[in-house]
């Protein structure tokens, strides 16, 4: 087992705001192997994006990594110099951002933006890089790439911009690709195109993908392993088949609630099951189990003590005192 590409151990990222310390990420561990996809799913404010920003060292003031290790290719990325980080960012690890509309520079041509990382990291000349850019666009199935390189971002549609973002992320053939909600702003038919593209590219380049989304359906489509996050902690981590197995012996009540609250296409129900309440305020997190305020099985122990992430079956980790389905008090 030495093909771990990225290992995140006990990561803590806090934001020191005037109103108090927001503990956005608290003790997150996971590993990604080469060529595999890890899906991170959670509601807004669960710390998914902050985890990704921590890995790339893109945290803005007042955010700071307080504790933990991020080991990428046997190198610890926490506390690394900015200069060294710059040679990794966009080269070994690259990122696709959520908003294809705003993350491209509106005043530069597509070709220029695409060739920038190639010139920077691979030391190619402007002309060579330009040709590579055309090839990259062809790879992400953009029609007529010879002309599109001369276009500005506003001339492209949302789906095409997201393809350009993917092409840019793939420019230096990264070992790890972080995709932060890459299809949230897109329509379903375009989303299906992008998923197919990402799956094909994963096979072709053997790239590991860290896929961040709030859409459980998208996770089911792309991921090999899944981590469910809630208020900065991983509540459940397992291979994708186990996570979506509705008859599984073990499961976390939060994930169960999430699965039940999505209407299924072939099921007729009058009422959807719902999780009560809403995500607790980041400055007023509950003392014990984070989910205890909304959990229907919550007991005294849940309110006062904090559960640990325990391996209940091989490869299946759950942070709950009562991970076994059917053994909880109703």
């Amino acid at each position: 087992m030495n093909n771990k590409l990225l290992e995140v151990k006990n990561l803590h990222t806090y934001f020191f705001t005037n109103k108090g310390t927001v503990k956005a990420v608290q003790g997150v561990d996971f590993t990604i192997e080469a060529g595999k996809t890890l899906g991170i799913v959670g509601e807004s404010g669960s710390g998914k994006s902050v985890t990704a920003f921590s890995i790339l060292n893109l945290l803005d003031y007042p955010g700071k990594i307080v504790d933990g290790e991020i080991i990428f290719n046997e190198m610890d990325l926490v506390g690394i110099s900015e200069e060294k980080m710059r040679s990794i960012r966009g080269n070994d690890i690259s990122m696709i951002f959520q908003e294809p509309m705003t993350s491209l520079n509106p005043v530069h041509r597509i070709g220029k933006q695409l060739s920038e990382p190639i010139i920077l990291h691979q030391g190619k000349s402007k002309k060579e890089a330009w040709n590579v850019a055309v090839e990259l666009l062809r790879e992400v199935k953009i029609p007529n790439p010879e002309n599109v390189v001369y276009n500005y971002p506003f001339q492209l549609s949302g789906g095409m911009r997201q393809r350009v973002m993917i092409a840019m992320a793939l420019a230096c053939e990264p070992k790890l690709l972080i995709a932060d909600e890459p299809t949230t702003a897109l329509d379903v038919t375009i989303q299906a195109q992008i998923f197919k593209l990402m799956n094909d590219l994963k096979k072709a380049y053997n790239t590991a993908i860290m896929f961040i989304t709030h859409d459980l359906g998208a996770i089911a489509e792309l991921a090999d392993d899944v981590a469910v996050m809630y208020t900065g902690e991983i509540l459940e981590r397992a291979p994708v088949d186990t996570i979506f197995d509705r008859k599984s012996k073990y499961s976390h009540p939060y994930k169960e609630g999430l699965l039940k609250s999505i209407p299924l296409l072939d099921e007729e129900v009058e009422h959807l099951d719902q999780i009560q309440g809403s995500v607790p305020h980041p400055l007023k997190l509950p003392k014990g189990c984070r989910f205890s305020t909304r959990c229907e099985y919550s007991t005294e122990k849940c309110v006062n003590e904090k559960p640990k992430l325990v391996e209940v079956a091989s490869g299946h980790l759950i942070r709950c005192f009562y991970p076994e389905v059917g053994c909880r008090n109703a």
Binding site: M160, D187, V188, T189, I190, A220, F244, S261
Partner: protein, 392 residues
């Protein structure tokens, strides 16, 4: 059979872009092609003629009725078609003739990709935008040409819930003021007395908001709670009909199910009719009785929800259904995926014939030329496709 609450006939909504159609480049290209063909097939006497003059000469003869070879004829016909639209004013064709009927107490769902005109239809039905063409009937009255004053009493019966719970609430008004504004405006309460406050509190309670929140401002609430405020505002006048314009799209999954359940409960309590606009097909299926699928300003399929999901007829509906990511892994892996090529075309210069032919996997020649009629293939199941129901 319940009563018809709302009916539209051939609603068209065109927004002028302020630009004229410029086909100069295309016309030039076509004229060059025509000259090339002409030079290959005919020898012309006057070799000194410039290209432009030569073409004008050919085109003049063509217009006067002279026929050349088949190839040249088709090119010249193409030139004629384009030169006819050159200089025409351009419009965004948001809705292109839509008929929809909504009965009392039912939910009609509208799905489609962004830019297909779902929201515009919702706004036009409420007369927030004047329709370019077509008629709207509400409770049997033709309200198409009603003035704002005349619309006022009707607006009590038709309300809207907006998509973005962050920007649709005035940040400088308290929740009580937001919900109660319409009540004062419509003269249900003369001033803010105790009765008024109790009424607002009651509405808030039905929407799952506690009554102590009445003096708070929108920024103090979470997204789900703000959407509840938006729903309470729509409900305050006890309407018969509510347009839900992507009412749950901006919310997290766990909050989304709370709001959907709330909407369903309210429907049972007040016998409301909804026009539920969303791009999420599984949510639409859950809440709607009948569903319309829209593409580029046209209704392409309209039927009750069971036949839409079990027996989709239009290739676009099939592709949409297959593109939904499933959380059931076994089904997700066995499902046949139809991945559409390309993007939605512009709705300013729309494709000829069937608007979907540029992306349709089963498009034939007839689709490019002829607009398919929106016709009933089974009882209550209407489709606009030449090859409806064909395998992909």
């Amino acid at each position: 059979m319940p009563n018809v609450l709302l009916e539209t006939k051939g609603i068209k909504q065109y927004f002028p872009t302020g630009k004229k159609r410029n086909e100069k480049k295309n016309l030039k290209k076509i004229s060059l092609r025509a000259i090339k063909i002409f030079n290959n097939e005919y020898t012309h006497t006057n070799l000194k003629l410039k290209e432009k003059e030569l073409f004008n000469d050919i085109y003049k003869q063509f217009k006067e009725g002279k026929r050349f070879s088949d190839e040249l004829n088709t090119v010249l016909t193409e030139y004629e078609a384009l030169s006819n639209v050159h200089g025409d004013k351009l419009y965004v064709r948001a809705n292109d003739g839509i008929d929809i009927t909504i009965y009392e107490g039912e939910t009609v769902g509208l799905v489609g990709e962004s830019g297909c005109g779902k929201s515009t239809l919702g706004r036009t039905i409420l007369k927030l935008d004047e329709p370019t063409e077509g008629e709207i009937f509400f409770n049997g009255e033709n309200i198409t040409n009603y003035s704002n004053n005349k619309m006022m009493p009707l607006r009590r019966e038709m309300q809207i819930i907006f998509q973005d719970p962050y920007s649709s609430l005035n940040p400088r008004m308290t929740v009580g003021e937001i919900i109660g504004e319409a009540l004062l405006e419509h003269g249900i309460f003369k001033n803010r007395n105790d009765d008024f406050e109790n009424y607002v509190k009651e509405i808030m309670k039905t929407c799952g908001l506690d009554d102590y929140m009445i003096y708070r401002y929108p920024h103090e609430f979470s997204g789900g709670q703000r959407q509840r405020i938006g729903i309470a505002r729509a409900l305050a006048l006890k309407p018969k009909f509510i347009v839900c314009d992507e009412a749950v799209s901006a919310l997290d999954v766990s909050i989304q199910s709370q709001i959907i359940n709330l909407l369903k409960d309210l429907q049972n309590e007040f016998s409301l009719a909804y026009l539920f606009i969303s791009h999420d097909l599984s949510v639409v299926k859950h809440i709607s009785d009948r569903i319309g699928v829209m593409y580029l300003g046209d209704m392409v399929e309209f039927t009750d929800k069971h036949s839409l999901y079990e027996n989709p007829q239009h290739p676009y509906t099939k592709a949409l259904l297959s593109a939904i990511p499933e959380t059931d892994l076994e089904k997700a892996r066995s499902k046949k995926k139809i991945i559409l090529e390309g993007d939605i075309p512009s709705n300013i210069i729309v494709p000829t014939g069937c608007k979907f032919h540029t992306r349709c996997p089963i498009a034939k020649d007839i689709c490019k030329r002829q607009v398919p009629q929106f016709r009933e293939v089974e009882k209550g199941h209407s489709v606009a496709c030449h090859f409806s129901g064909e395998e992909i």
